[in-house]
């Protein structure tokens, strides 16, 4: 396979610079002048919303799954606190000028927890595994542009793309970048999900299903062994119990804390509040092929009628930032938009009049209390401008199915977001997008989305995504509500946490002061 040409741009040169900068910033964050030396030992427990389905990256999707994945596998690339892609187990990634191929260079001497070398062969095997449609990796949609993956050196992997893929490095900072030990995959076969052997800072000690997943320090971790002896992941389905357990001292970290609890923690001043920001948004998704809402005037009326500041105050206690783009605080096109329709009931009423026919909205929602409240508030706001809304509650799985089948008119939805802006828009708004649920079909949008993948130059991409934001603000397939920050609450004895916009916990640097 031909090596990437000499003309190739080096992503890593800029990448490394940000990396060093981020590392310095981290030092300042975690170790103020008088801070104690990190102590070795101890155990930190983290709540999860439900037990893990598997320890195999193939089946990882939820926030808790991905959190456990980082602990067990670490990732080829990572994200810094500002959302930039930085080297990790792969010490560099180089893209060709046309962004049609990438070259990953791995660190030398890295080993999986079972001693298997973490080399190019292992990485290639992992790509083959997660790309095999039979294995149904939930990450597969992230890898759809890959044409071939090949080891071109003991520590060098070359990846060829079917189309320009500037978003590709970001996928390696998530599940697709979690590499399983090929020896363990072979040894355990279909049961690999019970063992989860990777090269992360921790390895499985014991999984008591439904009760806890106990992970212990991986002494051969590639950075240096983590400070903590153990990390315990505890499935705790009830939100109130999670916060009560933190208060009672039975739990060290609550991830994705509820606004109510964050507010309480702010008042009590007893816990650390970590707000790493966000990658994505909560929004009303519109099927632009459905009656009434197919007319852009109706969508505009809906947008103008929404008093999102009041809504955020009532539902989220004002905790989150109002969104005007699909890009959370950790993505560079965040709020890069001209003229997303703000609250203006007079304009909304005028548009409703202009449309002339009575507007009937059906909003499909998750039947959970919080989304129901949100939807009821929106329903009232729309009513004020003369739009009748019927709420159709579903349970989450069915809601997803309805969305996939485009069997809805409007839907209250949330997307966790990816580490590259592309992941929040391309698959959803491209006319050929795999999960285009809005029936959005706009040649200009297709062109912009493809252009966003065709260059690695940040200023250029910024321009492109700004245009995407503007087009979305004009066409309104999404009515944004707010950004969704992954706020964590932690016992003050837990030190060295780094807030990263994906909200996942990097535990290798964490220690416990006890």
């Amino acid at each position: 396979m031909p090596r990437v040409g000499p003309a190739s741009t080096r992503l890593t040169r800029t990448g490394l610079a940000t990396f060093v900068g981020a590392a310095l910033a981290l030092l300042a964050w975690t170790e103020p002048p008088n801070a104690a030396e990190p102590k070795k030992g101890g155990s930190v427990s983290i709540s999860m919303e439900s037990d893990l389905p598997t320890l195999d990256p193939l089946g990882m999707a939820s926030f808790s799954d991905r959190n456990s994945g980082l602990l067990l596998y670490d990732t080829l690339l990572d994200i810094d606190p500002k959302g930039n892609i930085i080297p990790n187990i792969a010490e560099r990634i180089d893209a060709s000028e046309d962004v049609m191929s990438f070259r990953l260079t791995l660190r030398s001497g890295v080993k999986f927890a079972d001693g298997t070398p973490y080399d190019a062969a292992a990485v290639v095997k992992n790509f083959q595994r997660i790309m095999d449609p039979k294995n149904r990796c939930r990450c597969v949609s992230d890898l759809s542009t890959i044409a071939s993956v090949e080891a071109t050196g003991p520590l060098e992997v070359s990846i060829k793309m079917k189309s320009p893929s500037a978003h590709f490095p970001a996928t390696l900072a998530d599940v697709a970048g979690m590499v399983a030990s090929p020896t363990a995959v072979e040894k355990y076969g279909a049961d690999f999900g019970n063992y989860g052997v990777g090269a992360g800072p921790f390895r499985l000690k014991e999984w008591q299903r439904g009760a806890q997943v106990v992970l212990e320090r991986n002494p051969d971790y590639w950075r240096k062994p983590p400070y903590l002896d153990e990390v315990v992941l505890r499935p705790m389905p009830d939100e109130q119990t999670r916060y009560a357990s933190l208060k009672a001292g039975n739990l060290d970290i609550v991830t994705n804390a509820a606004p109510r609890d964050v507010l309480d923690a702010q008042q009590q001043k007893k816990f650390q509040i970590l707000n790493p920001g966000s990658l994505a948004t909560v929004f009303v998704m519109i099927n632009v092929g459905a009656p009434d809402v197919s007319d852009v005037r109706v969508r505009q009326a809906l947008a103008y009628a929404m008093d999102r500041v009041a809504l955020n105050k009532a539902i989220n206690r004002g905790l989150y930032k109002i969104a005007n783009t699909p890009f959370g605080t950790g993505l560079f096109p965040h709020e890069q938009v001209d003229g997303y329709p703000g609250y203006d009931p007079a304009k909304a009423k005028k548009l409703v009049e202009e449309y002339g026919k009575p507007i009937k909205i059906k909003m499909s929602i998750n039947a959970a209390p919080l989304s129901t409240l949100t939807a009821q508030a929106i329903q009232q706001m729309w009513k004020k401008v003369g739009i009748e809304t019927e709420l159709v509650p579903y349970e989450q799985v069915q809601l997803v199915r309805t969305a996939a089948a485009r069997d809805y008119q409007t839907m209250l939805y949330r997307w966790a977001g990816g580490a590259d802006p592309d992941k929040n828009v391309h698959q959803f708004f491209h006319s050929k997008g795999t999960v285009n649920r809005t029936n959005f079909n706009n040649p200009e949008m297709d062109r912009l989305l493809d252009a966003g993948r065709a260059t690695t130059s940040q200023p250029e991409r910024m321009k492109i995504y700004r245009e995407i934001n503007n087009l979305l603000a004009k066409e309104l397939p999404y009515l944004y509500l707010n950004y969704f920050d992954n706020i964590a609450l932690a016992n003050p004895a837990v030190k060295g946490m780094t807030p990263i916009p994906d909200g996942l916990l990097r535990m290798h640097s964490v220690w416990k002061d006890k």
């Binding site: 439900s50 037990d51 389905p53 598997t54 089946g59 999707a61 149904r136 939930r138 949609s141 279909a190 049961d191 999900g193 008591q208 299903r209 439904g210 009760a211 806890q212 505890r234 499935p235 705790m236 389905p237 009830d238 109130q240 119990t241 999670r242 009560a244 357990s245 208060k247 009672a248 001292g249 039975n250 739990l251 579903y394 349970e395 989450q396 799985v397 069915q398 809601l399 997803v400 199915r401 969305a403 996939a404 089948a405 997307w415 698959q427 795999t434 999960v435």
Partner: protein, 322 residues
């Protein structure tokens, strides 16, 4: 004579058991089918395409007719194979084997606490019928009866755990790791469930006891000069506990329902939590497995209660009517 009667009763009960288990599992199968959404979507997640969902449904056998799938499941279940979880690939039998003892422990401790509170309270309330203490106990039980278990649970967590720090707010320790730790973690959830059972038990015992205390043999016992304690516990308690035993038995089954909520609230890995997860994930075999076990358990308990009557009430034992 006794043998023949008991045998007939057991035979009827076994037939009932089979009928109930069939009815319960068939009904659950049908209801799970009506549940919106399906296992394929639950497994594939929110970036799944329609094509992927269809292909996984086919692979899981979900495209086959309901009756075929049910008969298939019954056949396997009769052969001892309860299938595997769609989501985690675990064997359902193993899952139940791990989780059932946890729930049984929870229910037993619940019953112990409920009885430990209700029996003395019921006796006192009966003995001091219409006194201040009787009214006070009546008030408490009405209050507890009208409060949902999860509210009691959250109240207990915030008082006994967060404020006082006496018990962990959540979590489960295996008895093999630490028996004390295990009991320590079980007390709060069991107390939550017990506080909902307590009023029922207390009121029943109180009512029966008041009736018993008016019987002639109590008068005789009194005339013989026996102490209050001897009369209440030695003579009046046993004949007054018939309704209580029935309700304890029926409640064992009902408590599984309570366990669904309490195990979720306290993050305890029992069969209730397994059922909740299975329903959320549309994990049909897991739902079926739990229903099978719970239905069987329910009927067996009723059988045991029937037999227990014989021990408590000589009239049943000797086949005397009225």
């Amino acid at each position: 004579m006794i043998g023949a009667q008991a045998a007939r009763r057991v035979r009827t009960q076994v037939l009932t058991l089979i009928a109930i288990v069939f009815a319960a599992t068939a009904l659950t199968f049908a209801v799970t089918e009506i549940l919106p959404g399906d296992a394929a979507v639950a497994i594939l997640g929110d970036t799944a395409t329609e094509a992927e969902i269809k292909s996984l449904r086919a692979e899981l056998g979900l495209e086959r007719p309901l009756v075929v799938r049910y008969l298939d499941w019954v056949g396997n279940a009769l052969a001892g194979d309860l299938g595997r979880s769609y989501r985690t690939r675990e064997s359902i039998a193993v899952m139940i084997g791990q989780r059932l003892p946890v729930t049984i422990e929870l229910i037993l401790i619940t019953q112990l606490i409920a009885l430990a509170l209700a029996v003395p309270a019921g006796i006192i309330a009966a003995y001091r019928n219409r006194s201040g203490i009787d009214h006070a106990l009546g008030g408490v039980s009405i209050g507890l009866l009208s409060t949902p278990a999860f509210v009691i649970g959250i109240g207990l967590i915030y008082t006994l755990s967060v404020a006082l720090g006496w018990f962990p707010a959540s979590g489960y320790v295996r008895p093999s790791d630490s028996i004390l730790g295990n009991l320590h973690g079980m007390i709060l959830p069991a107390l939550t469930l017990a506080l909902a059972e307590f009023p029922v038990y207390m009121r029943l015992l109180r009512a029966d006891m008041i009736a018993t205390l008016q019987q002639d043999f109590i008068l005789v016992a009194r005339a013989k000069g026996l102490g209050v304690r001897d009369i209440l516990i030695g003579h009046a308690l046993r004949p007054s506990s018939l309704s209580l035993v029935t309700v304890i038995g029926i409640n064992l089954g009902r408590l599984v329902g309570g366990a669904v909520i309490i195990e979720t609230l306290f993050a305890i890995p029992g069969i209730g939590q397994m059922l909740v997860n299975a329903v959320y994930q549309h994990d049909h075999f897991a739902i079926q497995g739990v229903v099978l076990i719970v239905a069987t358990g329910f009927v067996l308990i009723n059988l045991a209660v029937d037999l227990a009557y014989a021990l408590l009430d000589p009239r049943v034992r000797h086949g005397v009517d009225s």
